[in-house]
Amino acid sequence: MQGDDIADLIGRVALGDRRAFVALYNQTGPKLFSICLRILKDRTEADEALQEVYISIWQRARSFSVASGSSSAWLAAIARNRSIDALRARKPVADELDTVYDLADAGPDPEMQTVTKDEGRRIDTCMEELEADRAVAVKRAYVEGLSYQELADQFGVPLNTMRTWLRRSLLKLRECMER
């Protein structure tokens, strides 16, 4: 996907251009369908999710022009969010927000700046600084849309251990990206 071409097509879609919508679907559909399929692991559900993804893209294209970030990342986020919502609706997992976040010894304070910008380092470099199994867990959570419980089962560790792995990994990644 050429970022600029895709961004241009999204801009035209924002103006209600249906031919641009077809072109956008043809160029990005296979990638976004792959995301739905990988997370939902069911062709019928992935197909349903993909329809909702493009309906959402049509409706939200106007908000892209004022959003920051790359066009392909924006599209992928819509596909991932829709798929993860469908997955969590089908297989509920425990709410986490009430649990105590055990973040002691989490490392240096991340900088206060939250402006989206080009990070000094790429995520790949920072992933290499994590312990190998934790890096795999982070990536698998993202790519497959796995829950904490599923990750704990796959790695053969207690649920709380997996929570700590991922939360500390996130803070280490943040610290590394801002270093």
Binding site: Y25, L50, Q51, R62, V66, A73, D95, A141, L170
Partner: protein, 239 residues
């Protein structure tokens, strides 16, 4: 002022929560809580957005997979109704969110007028507040503020920061809540930034519609639809 330790803890917690949201490990209910917070807490939304950008290189893991042949037809059917034909005017109006919003607004105006009449207070003779839209674009050197006076049909555009002059024209488009995009005219550089909206389009310039500006060949689009990049767009709303 919170203590540095507490501030640090909150900050770390937000980073983790945003990261968990983007990874996708949260429950459905927690995802809704996070999204609700993103709507009201811009710094937090920026943290989420940064994680989305940071982790987006993981998207390389997803290989392409061909969707079903019928999928796009179903998407179009769900978005635009049956078939490829644009809806007829009456259907379009009937199904138009703008129409119904305008109607609701008209009802509110009637209701408010009735209250004012009943209370015996005579309002200042002034028209309704103009509709305004702040138009901005990604990496754009131009931001525009549009305001539209309902009664006179005068639409005023103020460039907030203009880019280098080129042999191009800026054309303003109206994207109604539903229906075809229509040209509202071409801006003449150096003038007051006002466009008078053609009378037959005024009913469509309403809350819920979107204004957009595209970069067109000098003099405006040759086709009647935008041909150049959309440099800015934004929804109309009542301030």
């Amino acid at each position: 002022m919170t203590s540095p330790d507490k501030s640090k803890g909150d900050r770390s917690r937000d980073e983790v929560l945003a990261g968990e949201y983007v990874l996708g490990v949260l429950s459905l209910q927690d995802r809704r809580v996070v999204e609700e917070r993103m709507r009201h807490d811009r710094p937090f939304a920026a943290i989420v957005s940064r994680w989305e950008t940071n982790l987006s290189s993981f998207n390389d893991e997803y290989e392409a997979a061909a969707p079903n042949r019928e999928t796009f037809k179903q998407i179009e059917a769900r978005l635009f109704g049956d078939g490829q034909r644009p809806a007829s005017f009456s259907q379009g109006l009937w199904n138009s969110a703008v129409f119904w919003r305008s109607l609701s607004f008209a009802c509110i105006v009637v209701a408010v007028s009735a209250v004012i009449f009943a209370s015996g207070v005579v309002p200042e003779p002034q028209g309704p507040a103009p509709l305004v839209a702040s138009l901005s674009g990604q990496n754009s050197t131009i931001n525009l503020l549009a305001s539209y006076e309902l009664q006179s049909g005068r639409l005023k555009i103020v460039p907030v920061a203009a880019g280098k002059p080129e042999e191009k024209s800026l054309e303003l488009w109206l994207v109604p809540g539903s229906g075809m995009t229509r040209s509202l005219g071409v801006f003449q550089p150096g003038e007051s930034g006002e466009l008078v909206i053609p009378a037959d389009l005024r009913s469509q310039v309403a809350d819920g519609a979107t204004l957009a500006v595209s970069l067109e060949p000098f003099g405006g689009s040759p086709t009647g639809q935008a041909t150049g990049p959309v440099i800015a767009s934004g929804p109309l709303h009542r301030p």
